[in-house]
Structure formats: C-alpha cells, structure tokens
Symmetry: C2
Subunit: 249 residues, 2 copies
C-alpha cells in the first residue's frame, strides 16, 4: 500500500519521539513545524525533512504533537483538506472542528531516554471517519505492536489513570530522593528498592503490593515521621498516609 506523507507539528518530547520513530520507519516524514525555529531547524536536519509554516503545511497527514492546551488552536490553523491526528490524552475528539481528524495517542512517558521502546507501548487510536481510522491503524502498526481503538471518554480516563501511575508515582520517588539528598544519604542506596517496587507491580496489583507503616497502622512511626518532615512534605505525607489507611483499615 501507499502510505501518506506525514508532517509533524511541535518540538517537545512527544514530537521528538514520534518524529524519531517515523523517520526511522519506512513512512515518509516530509516536514516539521514549530514556533521555535531553532528547535525545528535542528529537528528538520535530524529527520532529514523540511521546515514549514502551519498555514501551508504539506503532509497528507499532519501529526499534532503540541501540549493539550494548544491542540485546538493549532488544528484551527491547518488547511481543511489535510488529514490530522493529535497525540493528546485529554482532548475530546468531538471538540475538534475538522472532518478528517483522529487521535494517535501513545500511552507512554516521554522523558527523553526511551526512544527505542515505542514499539512495546500501546498506541490508542480514534477517528471521526472510517478512512482516517484505517489510515491511522496502518501508520500505527508501523510504530507499535499494540494499536487499540479507544474512544474519547475511555482515553480521558486512561490518561487520568496514567497520571497517577506514572507522574505521581515518579514525583513520590523524587520527594524521597530529595529528602535523602538533603539528609546526606548515599543516592545509590535506593536503586534496588526502586527496581523491586516496580517489579512487584508487574506480578501483582498495587493493592496487594502495598507495605509500610500506613498500611500496618504503625502509629508511633507515623508520628515520628510527622515530626521529622518539613512542612511541605508533612502535608503530602499525611494526605497519602490517610489515603492508604482508608484503603486498608
């Protein structure tokens, strides 16, 4: 089959990973468009494609990889005869006024170090019409082994679940590492614990894997920790401890 030419809009982490994978595949990446010409210049030479302005973007399919807050206004600037797909978890497809629009949402965390893992991640697809749907499935299969059709309502919930599962758990690790750093602990001492925390989660539910003073209701330990922590961490500690307590006790 003949694949459409693709243009990418955006220069953030999602744009970089999508562009990287498309340019390494046998799909045809023709252009990049971003507000920051330094960044798009760099990406254009990396992917061996041209830079374009949003109003005259030339790819048959335009992949909109900008932050959720900017998706709608960016799509409004694109010519109506293009096919479009955006990569956002939270934007409802009904809110987009463009008949050939769909979604290509990679359920992944893009923090810059995992460019070669995309094939293993679910790619969630939605579309306003059958043609664009077929097109997105064909392209999706070039990028991921797990291409699934998910509607806007489900995608919104998946995105919100993923924020707890990835963003918030990551921030908890940061708070622990930061507290350790401020108390002069060796940073490497936690590596095995991090590895095991997540290994556990691949073999059992987080509900079952939970341990610690909040689950055991070790009141003395919780009181000791409350005294040790600075005010900002105290509030977080108590909020989460109370949530764990409510879950188990």
């Amino acid at each position: 089959m003949i694949y459409p030419s693709i243009s990418i809009v955006g220069d953030g982490n999602v744009a970089k990973v999508m562009g990287h994978h498309i340019s390494k595949s046998d799909l045809k990446l023709v252009s990049i468009c971003s507000r920051n010409s330094n960044k798009s210049n760099k990406l254009a030479s990396l992917w061996n494609c041209k830079q374009e302005k949003i109003e005259s973007i030339s790819g048959d399919l335009v992949l909109v990889c900008v932050s959720d807050d900017n998706v709608i206004e960016v799509i409004e600037k694109i010519k109506k005869d293009r096919s479009i797909a955006y990569c956002s978890g939270s934007i409802n497809l009904d809110d987009i006024d463009h008949k050939n629009c769909g979604v290509l949402y990679p359920l992944q965390t893009f923090s810059g170090s995992e460019q070669d893992l995309m094939k293993k991640f679910p790619l969630l697809i939605e579309s306003k019409n059958e043609n664009t749907k077929d097109l997105l499935f064909d392209i999706g299969k070039k990028l991921s082994e797990k291409v699934i059709y998910i509607n806007s309502e489900e995608r919104k919930h998946i995105h919100l679940s993923a924020i707890f599962i990835n963003n918030f758990s990551n921030h908890m690790v940061h708070l622990g590492q930061d507290y350790g750093k401020k108390n002069n602990l060796p940073p490497d001492v936690f590596n095995d614990l991090i590895r095991e925390t997540f290994n556990n989660l691949l073999s059992q539910s987080a509900f079952k894997a939970q341990t610690g003073p909040a689950r055991r209701r070790d009141k003395k330990t919780i009181a000791l920790h409350h005294d040790l922590l600075p005010d900002d961490l105290k509030k977080i500690y108590l909020t989460i401890t109370s949530s764990i307590d409510k879950t188990y006790n």
Copy 2:
C-alpha cells in the same frame, strides 16, 4: 568460624523473608516465637526448627522481626544474656536498654513475592558494641551482597525516604489502577507504562524523569481532571499537582 544459633521473633512479612533466607543458608535457625501459635507452628515446620516462648528463647542471637510499635516491649522480655538484633527502620538504638543489641535492617519491600532477591538488597547494620557488630556483619554477609554500617539517625532518614520511594509511589499506582477499574478500563493497558516508569528511574533521577500536565502547567487539563475525579482523589490530585508545580515552576 562458628556462627551463633539464631531465633526469630515475629510472623509477618519481614520475619518470613528473614527466616526463609536464614533457613536456606548455612546459618543455624533454632527457633521461632510469635503470639499466634498457628502461624508460628506453620513457620517452625517450614523452617525445620522449634517454637519457643519469648521469655525462654534459646538462640544465641535473637532476631526481632516485629512491627516498629512493638520492638521495645518485645526486647524487654528477652533474657539479658542473649544477643539481639531488630529489623526496624525507625527505632533508635539508643532507645533500647540492652547492652548486646544491634540492628539488621533490610532496605527492601516485603510484599511476599520476592523471597529470592534478598542478596541484592542493602542490609543496614548498627550495634551497641564491637562484638555484636562483628557478629551482625558475619551473619549479614551470608544474607546480602551489600552490608553497610548506618547509624540510627541515617537509618531513620533512609526509612522515611523509602516510604516515599516505595510505599507512596505504590499507592499512586493503586489509585490509578483503581480509578481505571471503576471506569472499566482494561487493567493490562498500564503494564508497559509501569515498567517504563521505573526503568527510567534507574537511568536518571526522578527530578529529570518527571513528565505530565503538572510539570508542563497544562492548566486546562488539570481543570478537566479536577472535574472528573471523585472528592477523595481530587484532594490527592491537587496536593501532588501543586507539589510538582512548586518543584518545577
């Protein structure tokens, strides 16, 4: 060298893992003591040792694997001529009135599925005297490749860091999985995200690995999520989102 005979007090996850590893090593596990005779009966036959009462416990070294809240009262019941080590992260060694007491604290999460991984985890040791210290190092090296001397002050901070790194991150994953379940999402859809979240943390700091709407200050997405969530999750979402925002913006 001649290793001392060992008795274990407790029947929880830590007791089970310590007992399992000691009974599989060439150390001599002679007895178990716990308040629940059904449980200690089962463990005694699993480890091929006898059951004893706390007041007449016979091991040269008594390993106290009870919850933090009970460590001190348990140690008070043990004969003064025994050597003792407790496995708690938060109890200060100065608070223990026993001259041959030390600490053997495994920095690990014991949720039941990882019994064979102990050798890879740090085992943190502290002691009131040199003899017990040598003893604990000798025994520790039979159980773990990483035996480190850490004082009570440092151990207390390590324990508190570990609560954020393991307990709290795990609970975030639970909240995400639970929200997904209540919204009928396929549970497996998040497995790759969980794996990658923690793979990232082994190659970079959590500070660098952070992604998501809170870090990007995607205000529209945050407002949408706020509307979607039930009240208990709303509070947690806003607390952590504000902490991430404070960290980066």
